[in-house]
Each structure stands twice: as C-alpha cells, then as structure tokens.
Symmetry: C2
C-alpha cells in the first residue's frame, strides 16, 4: 500500500528543529551511540520538552496521586527472535523490568504491544508469548494490558514487541545520572558483552564455535537488595544495553559533568567474549548487555555493596571497575592492561544492529 496522499506542507507547523546529519534514518540512529543521542536530543527531546523528560534516564519518574511512579518504554526488534539464552519475549520483559529497576522502582505492571508480520508461524508467536509469561512470572509482575497489530508481509520482521512498565519508587530512593560525584566508585554487576556476542553468534555469516548464551535477566531483585542495603549511598544505576558500558558511562559523565576513570584489568570479560571480540575487531565495552547493571555509589559503601552483589545469583562476577573523578569532566578514561591511559568515547555509529 503506497499512499498517494501528499500532505500540504504549508499547513504544517513551521518548525525550528534543526537536524544535523543524514537526510534519512540510518541503522546507526538506533545503535545507542552518538547518532542515537543526537536524534533524541535534537528531535524528540526538543519537540517533547517537559520536566519529566529532563533527566534523560532509562525511564521517567512522575508524582502521581502522592506516589512516585516510574514509567519506561522499550520496543524490542532483536533479530533473530530466538537466540541462545532467550528470545524476543523474555528480552522484552527483562528490558523493561530493568529500566524500571534502574529508576529504583519495583515493577507493578507491564503493557505489551505486538506488531506481527503476516505469515509469522503461529507456533513462533506461541513460544514467544509463553516465554514472556514465564519471564513475567519469575519477576512477579503481571502483564495487565496489551495490543496486537498485524502488518502485511514484507513490512515487518516476524514480531516486534513493545513493553512499557510502571513501577513504584520507594520513599527515600532518588537515583539520577547527575548524582555521580567525584570520589564515587563505579561497579559492574557482571561480565560485559555476553548478550551482544551471543546474538552475534547466531547471525548469518558470523557464527562462532561457542556455547555462549545471552545472560538476559531481570535485575529487579539485585537492585532491591542494593537499595535496601544502602539507600543513600547508591547514586546512579544504569543498564548498559545498546552502546554498551562505554556509551552508558559517557552519558553519565556528560550529564553529571564529572570524569570517569576505568581500570581495564578489573572489568569482568569472559574469555569467549574477549576471543569473539578480538576476531571481530570489537571492544567488549561497546557490546550490548541485558543482564548487567552499572552501579555508581559512595566509596564508603563500596565493600558492603560488592558483598551484597556477589551474594546474588546475578551478581557473582561483580567488580569495582573504576571511579568518578573531578578532573576531565564529561570524559571516560581507561587505564589499559598495558599501563597507558586512553579516552573511551561514546560509540559513534552502529556496532551491532537489532541487538534488542
């Protein structure tokens, strides 16, 4: 269906939004790096400007009827829809549960919107639905409302799922990227890059001889324990999805106007991930995760938090990977294994499309 209708542009709003860059949407606009950030800031953020959008967080926190409600949305377009360790259904639940968790909220309910392509085997849809159900049951969050659309063959790709979640932020919890303070430690709850490399391992033409499975997992329980343990000392939580640890930390450094210094030797990277990254010329710091979170916390609580994280099944590989510093504001630097220091930039293009 091609519309013959051409809108009368003279009737449209005269818009001051300047858009740098290409005249068409590219895959890199969805990569989670600099181009995604530019698109969001120059277009969506400028157009929709309002106080709740300001923090540019994984979700918004709204005051509603005396409660603080976290509200977060994500569309999942991962390809292929089934991959080792998960599928688009479980990923859609984990992704939004994690975004709520990064706001410090406990999940209350999920909405699920399906965009199905005509011709999708009903058996695939059944498997994806059951996987969502199982993932939601493990978290203990109900899927309370939904929507189903079907697009004609060749206008979609099997199944896309949007999940939007609401959660309650407990009193006393106030997380924000701008709260990263010089002196804070930067911690990582697990080995980085596993989800991205597991997906890549099944993509056509880049298959590895590895048994690597995605570590996609819901982080709500790990986060709840940290916030119970040290409600005031945890300053920032972030799950480094598209764009990886490097892009997430760059965003935080820019928003908090602080520097972040990482120690490469302390960043947990599994051998299979490191090997795959070497073959592909990738840096594990830019590979997407969906079962790992970054924790920026007061140094005084670091040992206690690390102990709590390591005691959790999803945090066994937790490590302190760096610190927040006053110098080099808005920059992320890394002390390499070789002993030098280099700048860790935000990802500039698309490293791995459709990873989530």
């Amino acid at each position: 269906m091609n519309g013959r209708y051409r809108p009368d542009i003279s009737r449209g709003p005269r818009c001051p939004l300047p858009l740098d860059g290409p005249a068409e949407v590219t895959l890199a606009h969805g990569g989670g790096g600099r181009m995604t950030q530019t698109l969001i800031e120059q277009l969506f953020f400028t157009a929709f400007r309002n106080p709740a959008l300001e923090p540019l967080h994984d979700g918004a926190v709204l005051e509603v009827g005396g409660s603080r409600l976290a509200f977060s949305t994500d569309s999942f377009v991962v390809s292929p829809i089934f991959f080792p360790g998960g599928d688009v259904g479980s990923l859609a639940v984990h992704g939004t549960v994690n975004d709520l968790s990064m706001c410090g909220a406990s999940p209350v309910g999920l909405a699920a919107g399906f965009i199905l392509e005509e011709g999708l085997p009903m058996e695939d849809l059944r498997r994806v639905t059951l996987s969502m159900r199982d993932a939601a049951e493990r978290v203990g969050v109900p899927i309370v409302t939904g929507d189903t659309k079907v697009v004609d063959r060749g206008k979609g790709d099997g199944v896309f799922i949007n999940t939007t979640g609401i959660g309650l932020v407990p009193p006393g919890i106030d997380l924000s990227p701008v709260k990263a303070r010089p002196g804070d430690v930067v911690m990582c709850s697990g080995s980085v890059g596993v989800h991205g490399i597991a997906i890549m391992s099944v993509r056509e033409g880049i298959e590895f001889e590895t048994s690597l499975e995605s570590d996609s997992a819901p982080l709500h329980d790990l986060v709840a324990r940290l916030l119970l343990e040290s409600p005031e000392e945890v300053h920032v939580l972030r799950d480094p999805t598209r764009g990886g640890v490097a892009s997430a930390l760059n965003e935080i450094a820019a928003q908090a106007k602080v520097g972040i210094r990482l120690d490469e030797r302390s960043i947990p990277v599994r051998d299979e991930v490191r090997g795959a990254c070497e073959i592909l010329g990738l840096d594990p710091l830019y590979v997407a995760n969906e079962g790992v979170c970054l924790v920026i916390a007061a140094r005084v609580a670091a040992k206690r938090l690390l102990h709590t994280m390591r005691g959790h099944p999803l945090g066994r590989d937790s490590a302190i990977i760096g610190e927040v510093v006053r110098d080099e504001p808005s920059k992320v630097l890394i002390r390499t294994r070789a002993g030098g220091t280099r700048l860790v930039q935000m990802m500039s293009g698309e490293q791995l499309p459709r990873i989530c």
Copy 2:
C-alpha cells in the same frame, strides 16, 4: 539477517494453549474482529491471565499507592503515515488518550516507542514528531519517556509508533463493559466510519473524489464533561476503532450478557461515508473510528448527557442509537431502514488493514 539458530523445542515449556485457526498470522488477526478476539483470548489472555486483564477493556485499571491508575498501550502502524486530517503521530496520541478516556481516566503521561525503517526521510520523522507534540499539547499530556529502534530497510514500513499512557481515574468513577444493563441507552458521540473511509480514500487503487478528512481527535474533554455531569449514570464508554461500532457493541453485549438493539435510522453516517461504503460494499458499522465514542448510560440521564455531548465541539452529531435489552443476550440486533430486524455480527475477518 536470518538466524541459523534453532531453539531446542524439548527445553521449551509444554504448553496447553490450543490455537484454533490458521498456522500463520494473517492480516485478519489484526483487524479487530473475531479473529483478533480469538487470538487474544486463546493466546495472550490465557498465557498472561491475571485479575487486571479480566475486564478486556481498552486499558487496565490498577490500584497503585492508593490511586486508581489507568494503563493502556497501542501500536500504530497506519498506512500511509500521512493522510487527510492527520498522520501516524497525532493518531498515536489520540488513540492512547482515548483508550485512557474510555477507562474514565484523565491522562497523566505518555510513553512513545518508535520503530523506524532505515531510509525513512528525516523530514517525515520530523513532521510526525511535531504532529505528536502538537496533539499532546492540545490534550495537555506530556510525553515523558521514549525509545527509538531502527530496523533494516524492508523489515519495517517507515515508522511504527507505540504509545502507552497512564491516567488517573477519579474517585467514584467505575466504568466497565459488564455494567451495561437492560434499559440503558446506547449513544454515539459522532458520525461513524469517517476515519476509516478517509484512510481508504488515500490508499492506492481505492481513491474517491471526496474531501473527507479523518476525524481523529482526543475525547478526554468530552468524556470528562460526561463523567462530571453523570458520574454514576454513565456505565460503559468505548471507542469503536478497528472493527467499528458493530464489533465494539458485540464485545460489550457478550461481556455484559445483554442484548443490544440498534435503530439504523438514528445512527449518524455522513453522506460521503455512506456513498463510499456503498461503492465498496462495506457497512459503515464495521469501519474504524478514532474520534467517536460509544456511551452506554442509564436512560434517566440520556437527555442530559445528549445535551452535554451536543454542546461539545466533538459531539455535535451525537445521537441515541439504540438500547440495551434483556432478551437476545450477547447479541446485537438492528432495526433496518426498511423496517426489518437483522443480526449485527462481530466482524469476522479484516475489512481494512492498517487503519490505525
């Protein structure tokens, strides 16, 4: 990208979900008629079963921190993305605002998830974004959080938008399809079928010589006035989108286990819509709307409500179109212009794909 990965089915859950019908997803599964209902009931509803899902409404109403929160999601895949009277952006705002309104809620915030196809002209995205902004501003609801994904060329169709909304249901308001009672009147806030026929008019090959524009509009203010006027007498609100008035009333009749009798002469249908429907062999009762709502209310309040509706810019064509009856439970009957009575069935297939 084709995944070579084939999941080990033996590890998957042994599922009792029986799926009648075709082995593949068809366009009719998204049409809003019987096949959509079967898919939702047999698959999603069975898998996700929980109390909030029970009412099968346009949205869920949850008790959160002492407030009653409405929560509703919709993906918008309308084709073409620009059409007379609107575009996918304004439609995405109106659709979710209306779903919240049908729960009796005033909108508090929207989340917007974009799935963009590689190659989408940036100018189109800009226009759609500004249209969303303008629509949200007119409603007075902020877009507080969002997400952007990009899929490769040929795996999407320009832009799909998911909007999910939260709203507050005022104390004393409790709308539900099961509250339709024998004796109630069925009212319609405007002329039916305009949105669907406006879209069809710009689809390739089925263009009419008509100036018909979509009546897509946000109904929150009209609804707020009705509920202020008669908080207890308004029993059910429903916006008859996909599947039209016929499918919406069939759902209500089935859920409330009542009969609904319509009077064809009293249903407002504009001449252009009637003419287009005659040419196409369509029944206006099955054509989608996005600026019209059905109101089922106690007969005692009917005149008052009709007066209020007709006094609102979006309700000028309001009419009482039928009544709820005790006989013929779960059925919708219509007294035709010719004087006979016929059954109005739920739409069985797909009348008009990608209308919203």
